[in-house]
């Protein structure tokens, strides 16, 4: 009796399945379909974005060279206490490793890694490997034989470098990216002044991005306001003027700035023709040139979010403010600006984050004092093939961007942004 009562109360569909179950099923299907639609993009991002970034993070701490090329030495040196120089067993392991490495032709791999720590270690290792392979008979004392090849093997700092390089993971590159290093006893210390570079470049990168962002805001705000308040047929024209450079290649725009700003370029010719200056002034290959080119290139990224927000601010609000007695300036500052805030923050965040990673423009129109962090990442990637160091700097940049984003999110709220 009780049971049948229950089944009576339960809502069912026409074929008798409970409605709740049916609804759940429908919901599941909907979710599956959504997931299926998102899947291609998800896999695309995974393969082209997430995995490369993880690999990059891994490269920063990875330290395989010595373990690969000199496994016996790496093993033997673990029991060394770090004072004085290691015992006979380590020297014997070194001889065996170098013989093998010379046969496999990868002495250079280990040499390059050790050369990061001590200049000249590469040629020391290669020379030693060459001499070791020429041993006719096994020496009575490996230690004496090796030290006889080169006296530097009798210095503690060389062995200390080997020991530090002989672990599977290292903080070497991360420390170097913030101008720190480990001394011969493994203590962390600041690098000497004439080698400290990256903290300065880092501060410079942020400062330059900030200046560019502020200029973009100052120049972009009136343009966006004009776009939003002009009648459609005029505003379309202005919009095209904003978008045309946006569609032009970045490289082309940067190169044209060089032509415009160079010593015998249009600007200098105009200045001299109008007798404002008697000599051509240096406008490019310095900070000024970088700012001009970067502001020009990034301006659309400020104008478009601002415009999309401003378009939705009803003009009647300004009229209401003035009818209540506010003069135009007050009405603008008290009514209009606060409502355009989401656009301001979206534009600033967009421009700032894009500016931090700028590479081509400063490289082409800047001098050596105007290079940003990306320049040095490219330098290590391309010129010296020190990918560990490139990753170290990239991690620094990535961390800073994430922190910035988090702080921004906390105070302004990313969900309040309207991108257009």
């Amino acid at each position: 009796m009780l049971e049948s009562n229950n089944s009576m109360q339960r809502l069912t569909t026409i074929d008798g399945t409970p409605l709740k179950e049916m609804l759940q099923r429908a919901e599941r299907r909907r979710k599956m379909r959504a997931a299926g639609l998102v899947a291609p993009l998800f896999f695309f991002l995974l393969i082209t974005f997430v995995i490369p970034i993880l690999l990059l993070l891994y490269r920063t701490v990875e330290n395989p060279e010595i373990l690969e090329v000199m496994p016996r030495t790496a093993q033997a040196i673990q029991s060394w206490d770090g004072v004085d120089i290691p015992g006979e067993a380590v020297f014997e392991a070194l001889v065996a490793d170098l013989r093998q490495a010379r046969e496999d032709r990868d002495v250079g791999k280990a040499g390059k890694r050790l050369n990061y720590d001590i200049t000249g270690f590469r040629s020391l290792l290669i020379k030693t490997a060459r001499k070791v392979s020429q041993f006719k008979t096994e020496p009575a004392s490996y230690r004496e034989a090796i030290v006889a090849i080169d006296g530097r093997w009798n210095e503690q700092r060389y062995w200390s470098a080997v020991k530090q390089a002989a672990s599977p993971y290292t903080d070497f590159y991360l420390l170097a990216a913030i101008d720190f290093e480990r001394d011969k006893d493994g203590r962390i210390q600041r690098v000497p002044e004439d080698r400290a570079l990256y903290t300065r470049v880092f501060v410079r990168t942020f400062w330059m991005s900030l200046v560019v962002t502020i200029w973009c805001l100052l120049l972009g705000y009136p343009v966006a306001w004009m776009l939003a308040s002009l009648p459609v047929r005029y505003s379309n024209l202005v919009m095209i003027l904003v978008l045309l450079p946006f569609w032009t290649s970045l490289l082309v725009r940067t190169a044209s700035w060089i032509i415009v700003l160079q010593k015998e370029g249009i600007i200098n010719k105009l200045l001299m023709w109008s007798h404002l200056t008697s000599h051509p002034i240096q406008l490019v290959f310095n900070r000024f040139g970088v700012y001009v080119a970067m502001v020009h290139i990034l301006l659309p990224f400020m104008i478009l979010p601002l415009y999309s927000v401003m378009k939705n601010i009803p003009p009647s609000l300004m009229r209401a403010a003035s009818s209540l007695g506010a003069n135009p300036v007050v009405a603008f500052l008290k009514v209009y600006v606060p409502q355009s805030k989401p656009g301001i923050s979206a534009g600033c965040l967009l421009v700032f984050i894009l500016a931090i990673g700028y590479y081509i423009t400063p490289a082409l129109v800047g001098g050596p004092k105007d290079q940003m962090l990306s320049y040095f990442i490219a330098f290590f990637t391309n010129n010296t093939i020190n990918w560990g160091m490139a990753s170290g700097l990239a991690v620094l940049l990535l961390t800073a961007t994430i922190i910035l984003y988090t702080v921004f999110n906390r105070f302004i709220g990313i969900e309040r942004l309207r991108m257009g």
Partner: protein
């Protein structure tokens, strides 16, 4: 309704399969492609096209693709590591050559297949992986239309901003800026690397560069110095001798100062795992023939490396070559081995110095 679910699953599976196949399919393509030769671009590669690429294609009937680069070893490393070798023969500078050879990125040269070691001048045999092909030099260049009267004679004059006011340009690289600074400071050419091997020597070089710093502009691509001379951006510059000669050929009144030139050898290498290795050897052998090298030197004045090519060069062109005896006076031969050891440390210090 069930059907939709299955079709979505299918769609996802197909997408994944497409991505995977695309990923696997790409390296497979490299098996059957034309010989790809990579060099430095610009006027130089044009000359190589006339001297090597076109005649080689005519002779063998095989197609040669030529690309240009700026000396970055990163691409070669990425190719070798990902087992997707798309370059076969590349022209590289000596320190990079030694480094890449030790990292196992290049094939070990079988000298018998390129004509034997004895056919090359000694400096052209650069380690185990490279066949030297040209001798090029860093020289001082200026525009005689802008400096009328007496021009600079050596690097000390390059530093003399009182007599010749105006900006100067140097290559944005520790090599050979440090050598040049020491030469300007009066160090004899033969002692440059001995002095640079000491901490005092390095500081001395940077101190000398400090003097000129406010007047310096840095170039990175070989095409920049002649452009800047022509546009009047700089009054004098260091430059690759061939680029200046090419500009002179086009009618510019540029002058080259040979005193204190830094010369070096560029070599052909074969990327490890190249699928066209036999053709690559044929090409290097062809490009090492004295008669072909003489054609190149006539097109752009870089010195040949085949022993027989040196006398085969047109006597009218010979005085423009870095290897011409008079031009070698007071010159510095770039010490590639020394640079491989010091490039990391000195590049870092150089970067710090330029960024200050």
């Amino acid at each position: 309704m069930k059907l939709t679910k299955i079709s979505i699953c299918k769609f996802v599976i197909i997408m994944v399969a497409v991505i995977l196949v695309a990923g696997i399919g790409m390296p497979a393509k490299s098996n059957a492609r034309d010989l790809t030769v990579v060099s430095w671009g610009g006027a130089y590669q044009e000359a190589q096209r006339k001297a090597y690429f076109d005649p080689f294609m005519k002779k063998t009937g095989k197609k040669v693709l030529d690309e240009s680069y700026n000396g970055e070893m990163a691409k070669i490393r990425a190719m070798v590591e990902s087992n997707n070798v798309t370059w076969d023969v590349v022209q590289v500078e000596s320190p990079e050559l030694i480094n890449a050879c030790e990292q196992g990125l290049l094939e070990i040269i079988d000298w018998d297949r390129v004509g034997g070691k004895q056919s090359f001048i000694p400096t052209a045999i650069m380690g185990e992986c490279g066949v030297g092909t040209i001798v090029w030099a860093h020289v001082i260049a200026y525009d005689a239309d802008k400096i009328k009267g007496e021009g600079p004679k050596n690097w000390a004059d390059f530093w003399n901003v009182k007599k010749w006011p105006g900006k100067r340009a140097l290559r944005k690289n520790a090599k050979p800026s440090l050598e040049i600074a020491l030469l300007a400071d009066g160090v004899p050419a033969a002692d440059v690397y001995k002095v640079l091997s000491t901490e005092e020597g390095i500081q001395r070089a940077f101190k000398k560069l400090d003097e000129l710093k406010p007047h310096l502009q840095w170039w990175e691509a070989g095409a920049q110095p002649p452009q800047w001379l022509a546009s009047g951006d700089v009054i004098m510059t260091s430059a690759y001798n061939g680029r200046i000669s090419a500009a002179i050929k086009e009618g510019r009144n540029f002058k080259i100062v040979w005193r204190g030139q830094n010369y070096a050898v560029d070599s052909w290498v074969i990327v490890k795992g190249s699928p066209n290795i036999d053709l690559a050897y044929d090409f290097i052998k062809f490009a090492s023939q004295p008669e072909n090298q003489a054609v190149l030197s006539a097109e752009i004045p870089y010195g040949p490396t085949h022993v027989k090519a040196v006398p085969a060069v047109d006597p009218k062109i010979a005085p423009d070559l870095p290897t011409y005896p008079v031009n070698l006076e007071g010159s510095v031969a770039t010490d590639a081995e020394w640079w491989v050891d010091h490039i990391e440390e000195l590049s870092e210090r150089f970067n710090v110095w330029t960024a200050q």
